[in-house]
Amino acid sequence: MTRRRIALIVAVTLSSMMAGHAQSQTDRPRVFRATTTSVAVNASVKRGNRIVANLTARDFRLTDNGVEQAIDALSIESVPVDVTLFLDTSGSTAGKLDDMKQDVQGIIRLLRPGDQFRLLTIGDSVYEPVPWVPAGTKVDLSFGAVGGISLIQDALLIALLHPPQPDRRHLIVGMTDRQDCGSVVSSGLLRELTGRSEAVLHLVEFSGGGGESNYRVRTCSPRARPDGVRILDDAAARTGGQLHTQSFFFRSSSLLRAFKTIFDDFRQSYVLRYSPSGVDPKGWHAIKVEVPAIKEATIRARLGYYGQ
């Protein structure tokens, strides 16, 4: 627990999505366009490495484009979570596939009743070997390595588009070697997408097992972007999540352990809801969350959202 850094987040909630409030999960698709009617922001509050619990709405101060808002707050502990896990099973990481599968089973066991889970794998394409299943489901993990290039940003588009019901939160945990290659989704576009989704994105650096040779069929062009790390770090931070590098988050550890740390922190965070007032509904809304009574508090929350 001492090394956790987590965060949560985010915004969203659009009226059209609200219209789908009563719909069941199978009634999708619904919309998650942010509107002026309601915005939800996940926030994790830490003092040092310790989670600060039992805060109420009165403890928070939230500004939307600099204008303080009246908020409701509740602990996310009571909110069901949609968990999207994506694994980079491209050529560079495919050698750890068996370990990853074991961890996936463990991750599903960590979920609570009411939570749901899906698995995406990436390589030449983005696949969904495990579609949304309720917590506790024993899933078939007989899929093989996808191989090939690393379409991390394409996978993130697919993950971020998921519109959870308004009373649920969406946590995305990606396990990757951080080298996107060949995505249709550009890094600039990814940056914008993070402002249009309520999901909280955490990326876990994972190294190796696969690409001992650059001359494998369907490998990435050697001209992959050199600033891939910064792009993913930025994307995660904008959602209130984080890029966890091996050096300081976990070392030679398992995905299961990393996920548990992220998930535990996520569940001890807060959801702040408000109806924006005094601000132009259109354009980018920069959000700032503070806990005035705890000066040394470290707060992770989404950095903003796009209004319509």
Partner: protein, 395 residues
């Protein structure tokens, strides 16, 4: 009696231990026992039991396969000459088998361009190429073999094996394609392969900047420190790049009128124009390429690239139309779906973006997305070429 029994027991025990030892010896991973039987596998392959012969090598350990490579090159020739009246078909079988095992090894990442082993993928292909020449005049079987070898090499992006240098040079051109062109001087796909290899230096995955309506955008290419420090150096490099780009586009232009490969040459020329920043010309080339072909894979890529170039021009409506046309040709394909979904999302329409992606994921074919295979040359043709080659080998 007791002594006799004891002697008997001792003998039995010794025999059992000897048998066990021999068993272990046979199974032990020594270099000798690691050797796969080259003549036996060549015979199996030449008799038409292709999958079984290839599977033995594909399942072998990396060391076993390396030993096999070296042995194949030394023993394959003698195996072919063992039956003089079957020399020609046996040489073809040996060359085809060599190519197939390299394809299997490449699938698991064992195609090193360089290496300290006696023989690697390049070496095996060149050996097979040489023994094919010993069959006499090039025939259709040899043509298929060359096309398959080119397709495999594209799959591993070993372009310099196909042709060197990739840029203007005073040096004479070398590489595997030199042999292929000598053997098949009129073959348009070999000519196209050379053009693709030369163009490979622009087979980058550099992404374009975020599309904006009415605003032209450029590739996102972080500048090298030397360019940041010296704009003059940046200018020189840009000039050099422009000259290289012109050099690699010419072989594609030379093929535009070819009835067999003209449309694909135009498709790939359009890609180079796109990479060079001439987006209007890229759109025009891709539209012409799509119109000139009935191949849905080619049309899909042409529409996709046209959409990308339209995005770069800031014409997002045209980009959406071209993504839609790509999906009309090849429904549910992921690359065009994501391109279109991203534009919908940018336009504030996440519901449609979500629907597009959901439907694509639910129904998406399990095959390779044409755009994502585009930069690997003829690699998608490899399975078909191997099937055709096997038909020539089959007794």
């Amino acid at each position: 009696m007791i002594r006799q029994r004891s002697t008997f027991r001792t003998a039995a025990l010794t025999s059992a231990l000897t048998a066990a030892f021999l068993c272990l010896l046979v199974r032990a991973p020594s270099t000798q026992s690691d050797r796969l039987d080259v003549p036996a596998l060549l015979t199996l392959y030449s008799q038409g039991d292709f999958d079984r012969a290839v599977a033995v090598v594909a399942r072998a350990s990396r060391n076993q396969a390396q030993v096999f490579q070296a042995w194949l090159v030394s023993a394959g020739h003698s195996w072919a000459h063992d039956v003089p009246d079957q020399l020609k078909p046996r040489l073809l079988a040996a060359a085809a088998f060599a190519l197939e095992i390299e394809a299997a090894r490449a699938e698991r990442g064992d195609w090193p361009q360089m290496g300290n082993t006696a023989c690697n993928g390049r070496c095996v292909i060149e050996w097979a190429c040489a023994i094919l020449r010993a069959r006499g005049q090039a025939d259709d079987a040899e043509r298929l073999w060359h096309l398959a070898a080119i397709a495999l090499t594209g799959g591993v992006r070993d372009w310099t094996f196909l042709v060197t240098p990739l840029a203007p040079s005073q040096r004479p051109e070398t590489g595997h394609l030199v042999h292929a062109r000598q053997r098949l001087p009129g073959e348009p796909r070999v000519k196209l392969a050379r053009a693709m290899a030369l163009a490979s230096r622009y087979d980058t995955t550099n992404e374009m900047d975020t599309p904006r309506a009415g605003v032209a955008t450029a590739p996102v290419v972080p500048a090298m420190p030397v360019i940041r420090a010296s704009p003059a150096m940046g200018g020189l490099l840009a000039e050099r790049r422009s000259a290289q780009l012109e050099f690699v586009m010419q072989p594609l232009r030379d093929l535009l009128a070819d009835p067999a490969v003209g449309a694909e040459a135009r498709l790939r020329l359009g890609y180079l124009l796109f990479r060079g920043g001439d987006y209007e010309a890229a759109v025009e080339a891709e539209r012409a390429a799509a119109a000139a072909s009935s191949d849905p894979q080619l049309q899909y890529i042409a529409h996709f690239l046209s959409a990308q170039a339209s995005q770069a021009l800031g014409d997002l409506a045209a980009a959406e139309a071209m993504y839609s046309r790509a999906l009309a040709v090849r429904p549910k394909s992921q690359s065009a779906t994501l391109g279109l979904a991203a534009l919908r999302l940018l336009d504030g329409d996440p519901a449609t973006a979500y629907e597009l992606v959901e439907q694509s994921r639910a129904d998406r074919r399990n095959d390779d997305d044409p755009w994502r295979m585009f930069l690997y040359g003829d690699f998608t043709r490899l399975p078909g070429l191997i099937r055709a080659l096997r038909a020539k080998v089959r007794p």
